[in-house]
Symmetry: D3
Subunit: 135 residues, 6 copies
């Protein structure tokens, strides 16, 4: 386990990120992920800047983004990330029913991904025509 | 590559599933995933039944479910599944902007999952208190 | 794609491994995996020695070992390994029905692995008592 | 960690699944995986139905299916699933020697999967001819 | 496959990133990864900024960083990333012998990772004492 | 958790490996990985022989090999392996700054691997020409 750097022990550079996290999230605490990244201030700043940009307002609503985050974390078996982003999703309105459906979709996708691998299914021509991105 | 079983060559048991897929999706074709699973009718029926239940109406809207499916498939590098579920997502309204944001969230989640692993971040006590499911 | 080293172009050191592969497998050809590893004779020898020991006679029958190999390769999405070990499994007697059941088990295991991750299921005390290995 | 729903606290719908699990397995207890899925009765029923069908009698013997389940779970690092399916495998006759050989095969497959990725080994033409499924 | 945006067709915003990539790398071309990310200029800018910071001068030499990049990409089976970062590694001096050793280490690590999972090895107390980061 | 076999309880065959581990590493202790593998002496001998060959002197320096080992273990989320190989890396000179940079590279590679998957980036022709291995 890496050292957890509390606000009281943090350098001004680290405190600036903690302050921005709390202001952006409208909370009065910072979770351990950031307190551990604080061991490397450059990474702390860079990752927070990425999270702020990617998880901020856009064309996908904030709850959907958290659900996707949980889906990836469950697939990768990242226990901390599942806990933290499930909490964020709940804060943004995720119900127990939605969490249960999310788990069902994630489980099923992991299953069919492997059926596709094992049976070596060729991509349908239609799937390559339909996308505006040329996909 | 596994043998693709076209409708014309399919047994009545397999045709029944193809018919239900087309009726449920309101389309006139069946994609290769099902035509390959048709080599094993029991699995074809079982997986279709699961997909119909899990991806059907519920507390998460259909587009969100497709986005989650794509997120898992991208994380697992399942090329076919990315193509097929991106197509489904587009059919349900996903825009280019939403696809791009989805990719950004999936990429970031895969990154921070590993930062958490490497730094061995302990789960905050708050995350275990906040969930109605006891999580 | 790495260079494929054919028997005719191989050094005596590499030929010795190719010869042992063909003698052990009672075949007259060597598949590309070995012809590519031959770019690094030390790794070629080491991996062949491991495969020979691990996949050789033991308490699990040869077909079961190939099925396990396919299961891992499908989970990891290694197309070459799925093709080569499915071929080996068929040579050792795997039927179409067995392949289909294998895929079903692999798919399901990948699904329930994620349900366990997402719901963070605690290990039952009974599972830690039952094993002679203390597990 | 999700809430564990004991038999005494379960709804009739959930109890019906618990009863079927115990009857099918000829045991008097239900492991935590099911007690946690019980938070979502639809998923509990669906997954149990899948497990019953996939892990039930077929062309692969029950022990082989459990070994494959363990192999996938070890590859995915699902600690709970390794514990539960190793226990099932032992109940079906897996010896310490077989467990050790299983681990050796799983480890080796994970290694050679990556050697194949890194060296980008092309699939041998022979592997595409040999399968009755056209693979 | 996503649309590839060539320099001639790129917006000024995208060209600015392409120009910086070429200037930073002292080359006269841009590889497809960036030409595809250009479909989403915000992500193009963000990821290039991250790559420039993370892969730039620091306490690890540039070749070591590329070797680590290849190791991750081989583990994840990202064919494009293996090709592109192997090319970068060769440009920074990686020899055939070093590539072969890298593959050997990556393969072995993937193997022993799974042996650890399967045998559920407890972390030695000494490993938690030795690190200045408290790990 | 598997049984840990201490030196005092080990067979001569197992002790011979423990002795070689301590002599090779110039230490007076053996970590749990080996004490658990000792439940299967054939695997203990085989894996130690592989580790000794792969991690021994070669064209990559010992620290680089440990960094690669950590990178793979972080990607696979193998907590034990991260702890043990981070300790080895520190013993070989890894500084806190280098560990932090390693984490940054591993995180970024895991992110861009997924962006490549999701956008389905085609391999540039140049990447297939540049390698002496024909890659």
């Amino acid at each position: 386990m890496s050292k957890i750097i509390e606000y009281a022990d943090a350098s001004p550079r680290v405190r600036a990120v903690y302050d921005d996290i709390m202001a952006t999230r409208k909370t009065d605490w910072v979770n351990n992920f950031w307190k551990v990244l604080a061991n490397d201030p450059a990474t702390l700043e860079r990752i927070w800047s990425n999270v702020k940009q990617v998880m901020g307002p856009g064309s996908l609503d904030p709850l959907t983004k958290e659900l996707v985050y949980v889906a990836v974390s469950v697939t990768n078996n990242c226990r901390y990330c599942i806990a933290s982003h499930s909490a964020s999703a709940r804060n943004k309105g995720m119900t127990d029913e939605q969490f249960a459906e999310l788990m069902a979709v994630v489980g099923l996708a992991n299953e069919t991904n492997r059926l596709v691998n094992g049976y070596d299914v060729p991509v349908d021509a239609r799937f390559t025509e339909i996308s505006p991105q040329g996909k």
